[in-house]
């Protein structure tokens, strides 16, 4: 019975063949390729000025046009993939692991640990999120690594809170009690029985969170607290282009499309995974 819970049901594996999931997967794999080998895809050097081609509209030579310094927008959007995909993953993975572990333990054991912990979580959540991140980045100094630290410091509580609630919900089910009666260790009950059943909303949230991390990183880039110029990053590219929204629309639109596409990829794959992992009665 337990084994069946861990391995997806045969019919569930069919989820992976649905168009939504496949499209999502294709987008993510494509993004990953661009992120890992930007030099192979970008037609130009991303930071090279070209004074003779300032703010040129999309053309055969420059597919996405050029910016106010004559840099090739397509190349900059492509190089930004490595920064932004890194953001999506690094900024969330530590938060996920820490949050899930802490949330599961606290949800399972309850008591004093839960009470102390609840207050800390409340304290962090009652803090204005963006403000905390801005303050932490200001203290540590700007740059991607410090931005990841700041986002993780705050981000893990969302996973923890979600996990704790799920675990508590699962514990009301019969099988958790059964596990105890059967004399399983706490570790086994938590990580083999409760966690797999409780993780679905967390994974769904993770996929959303990765898209959100790109967005947050972009906002911070816009405020100058994320990626450092002249490194290309979608948020910074959009911010740079927004003064030219009517005169050189391609500057903000192209990176905008990249963000939306990548976000869509995460979301489609996330939903597919959710369907796949959803425990069957």
């Amino acid at each position: 019975m337990m084994l069946k819970r861990l391995l997806p049901h045969k019919t569930q594996m069919l989820v992976l063949l649905r168009p939504g999931f496949l499209v999502g997967l294709a987008i993510l794999l494509g993004s990953l390729a661009l992120a890992i080998f930007p030099a192979a895809f970008a037609p130009f050097e991303p930071n090279a000025f070209n004074y003779s081609a300032l703010k040129q509209p999309p053309s055969f030579e420059h597919w996405f046009g050029t910016d106010n310094l004559g840099r090739d927008t397509l190349s900059r959007v492509i190089w930004a993939y490595s920064v932004n995909m890194q953001m999506a993953f690094v900024a969330t993975i530590f938060a996920l692991v820490i949050g899930v572990t802490v949330g599961a333990l606290v949800g399972y054991y309850g008591g004093i640990a839960d009470a102390i912990f609840g207050r800390c979580v409340d304290a962090i959540i009652t803090f204005p999120f963006l403000v905390l991140v801005i303050a932490v980045v200001a203290v540590l100094g700007p740059g991607l690594t410090n931005m990841y630290i700041a986002i993780t410091l705050v981000g893990w509580v969302y996973y923890a809170r979600l996990m704790r609630a799920e675990i508590m919900g699962q514990m009301a089910n019969d099988y958790a009690a059964a596990g105890k009666v059967m004399g399983y260790s706490d570790r086994r009950i938590i990580f083999r029985h409760l966690l797999p059943n409780a993780i679905t909303p967390v994974i769904v949230y993770w996929m959303t969170d990765m898209a959100l991390a790109i967005l947050l990183g972009s906002s911070l880039g816009y405020l100058g607290l994320g990626a450092q110029p002249p490194q290309a990053e979608w948020g910074v590219l959009i911010a740079e282009g927004r003064n030219f929204i009517t005169t050189a629309w391609w500057l903000s639109l192209m990176p905008g499309i990249a963000i939306v596409l990548t976000g869509l990829g995460f979301s489609l794959v996330g939903d597919g995974l959710a369907d796949l992992m959803r425990p069957r009665g």
């Binding site: 310094l69 100094g141 700007p142 405020l223 100058g224 607290l225 110029p229 911010a239 003064n243 030219f244």
Partner: protein, 526 residues
């Protein structure tokens, strides 16, 4: 056909008889600002959005002409500096009144000037450090000085010495002088300038109304101002401010990004003004022998600093950042619009060969790393960085970046924890002493944090502060500028105008080189 022709001729005739610029009175102006004022008081104004509004609400004893250099009469109809330079006497104009109708008298001037010179109250007291005492006898004001002060007359035309009502302050609620000023700004406002504060919703809107008792006359022989009032809207976002103007919801928008100036110029409904300013953009270079972390500082070598200056193509920077709306600095110490600025052509005209020669002389290794600290979120700084990275790679310098926010940059400047960082400056007074003290005189602020300390410069500066002979003072300033440019404690960059976009029917609005928003002579062509 003939009739139509006649009519056209008649209209043309009328138009020449009454030129399109015929002055009109009335109406109110809506002005979009980048930031709100907090407390507009001559002595508590410490941020530009406050400082630049003061003279609309409070008038000064003397005024400067539009060129910002010639001093003329204000609330005082005449002034005289004693032979020995140790006192100034002024005569108050007859019949001048505060906005509540009470007369402006000697006691108000004494109160205002004492307040302005009081270091416990005013952050600007240093500008009046030479003032010993102020007294009034009838309409005559006497200012006794501790030492001769070539700037004192200009100081009396500067916002911090503007006249407030002694009675209003005595009657105002509040314990401290600042409390009283705050409560006056909300209710029962009394001022001496062309406008009065009507209402203020912090962070969103501020309204001025015309002061019916203002003394200065307009071109039509009647008292200023021409307009009935001004509504200020606070729109911090550049793009939104411009949209607001394009939608016709406001009559003017300030601080137009230079990247959009040409777009505004092309719009027939918009009059894009580029007012000459004393604003300079420069980058202090740390000249200390060691960096804050204890490592050797290559920038302590003047040859490297000169090389960086030669390797920087300022014309290209002006094109890239300002889209041509500005020019490279010609005096290292001040904007060309400042009094006593020397002009020997652009400083350190781009010359890659000279730069390479200097680098070789300095013995700086290829690939030496330097960090530029920039202001986070500033589009201009982003472009400057990208450009300098390219330009300096030609002389083997690898430029890194550290983005920080304003106060962090300030703290780094104060503690000398930087290599090079971007900075800007606008004069608050028309005299060069303020900017020269800030940029070059070590005791003021370590020569804008660079640590540069030159004995000759310092003694020239001290001497110039009491030198009453204009010609000698000009000589001293010429020499100071020469020394400063040679030593290159800065990366000399460019000066920029103030970019304000106005609807075509707004006339007569001026932003002075100091940044002051002058609405007294503005009018609306309806």
């Amino acid at each position: 056909m003939k009739k139509i022709l006649m009519a056209t001729v008649a209209v043309a005739a009328m138009m020449s008889a009454f030129p399109a610029s015929a002055l009109e009175r009335g109406g109110s102006l809506t002005f979009a600002r980048y930031d709100d004022s907090t407390l507009i008081d001559p002595i508590y104004a410490d941020r530009n959005p406050d400082i630049w509004m003061v003279t609309n609400l409070y008038d000064t004893l003397l005024r400067t002409e539009a060129d910002g250099k010639t001093v003329t009469s204000g609330l005082a109809s005449s002034y005289a500096v004693a032979e020995d330079g140790l006192s100034v006497s002024l005569t108050l104009r007859d019949g001048i009144k505060f906005s509540d109708g009470t007369p402006i008298e000697g006691k108000d001037v004494v109160f205002s000037l004492q307040r302005a010179a009081n270091p416990d109250l005013s952050p600007w007291a240093g500008l009046l450090a030479s003032v010993d005492s102020v007294s009034a006898e009838g309409n005559t004001i006497n200012i006794a000085l501790k030492n001769s002060d070539p700037t004192i007359v200009l100081m009396l035309a500067t916002f911090n010495t503007a006249i407030v009502s002694a009675d209003a302050f005595a009657a105002a609620e509040g314990e401290t002088d600042q409390d009283k000023s705050s409560s006056l700004s909300i209710e029962g406002f009394v001022g001496s300038g062309p406008f009065v504060m009507k209402s203020h919703q912090r962070g969103s809107m501020m309204q001025f109304a015309a002061n019916p008792h203002y003394w200065r006359e307009g071109e039509d022989g009647k008292a200023l101002p021409y307009i009935d009032g001004i509504n200020f809207l606070v729109i911090p976002d550049d793009a939104t401010r411009i949209l607001k103007l394009q939608a016709g919801e406001v009559d003017a928008a300030e601080f137009i990004p230079f990247a959009r100036v040409s777009e505004m110029q092309a719009d027939p409904k918009i009059n894009m003004e580029l007012f000459p300013s004393t604003r300079i953009i420069y980058s202090p270079i740390n000249t200390r022998p060691e960096r804050a972390d204890g490592s050797a500082n290559p920038l302590a070598n003047v040859k490297l600093r000169q090389a960086l200056n030669f390797a920087t193509n300022k014309d290209a920077l002006v094109q890239l950042v300002l889209h041509g709306a500005g020019k490279p600095v010609t005096s290292g110490l001040m904007a060309s619009t400042t009094q006593l600025a020397t002009d020997n052509g652009p400083l350190y005209q781009y010359d890659l060969d000279k730069a390479k020669a200097l680098i070789a002389e300095a013995g700086v290794a290829d690939g030496t790393e330097i960090t530029l600290t920039t202001l986070a979120g500033s589009a201009d700084d982003g472009i400057i960085l990208a450009a300098l990275q390219q330009m300096w790679s030609d002389i083997g310098i690898k430029l890194n970046v550290a983005q920080v926010d304003g106060p962090t940059r300030g703290a780094k400047n104060r503690s000398g924890d930087f290599d090079i960082h971007t900075y800007g400056w606008v004069n608050d007074v028309n005299d060069p002493a303020q900017v020269a003290g800030w940029l070059g005189y070590n005791p003021t602020a370590k020569a804008v944090g660079t640590g540069w300390d030159n004995a000759e410069f310092n003694s020239l500066y001290e001497a110039s502060n009491t030198e009453m002979d204009p010609a000698k003072r000009a000589e001293q300033y010429a020499r100071m500028q020469e020394i400063y440019a040679e030593a290159a404690p800065l990366l000399f960059m460019y000066e920029t105008p103030f970019a304000v976009a106005l609807s075509q029917d707004v006339k007569g609005y001026v932003q002075t080189p100091l940044g002051n928003n002058e609405f007294a002579t503005a009018w609306i062509d309806r």
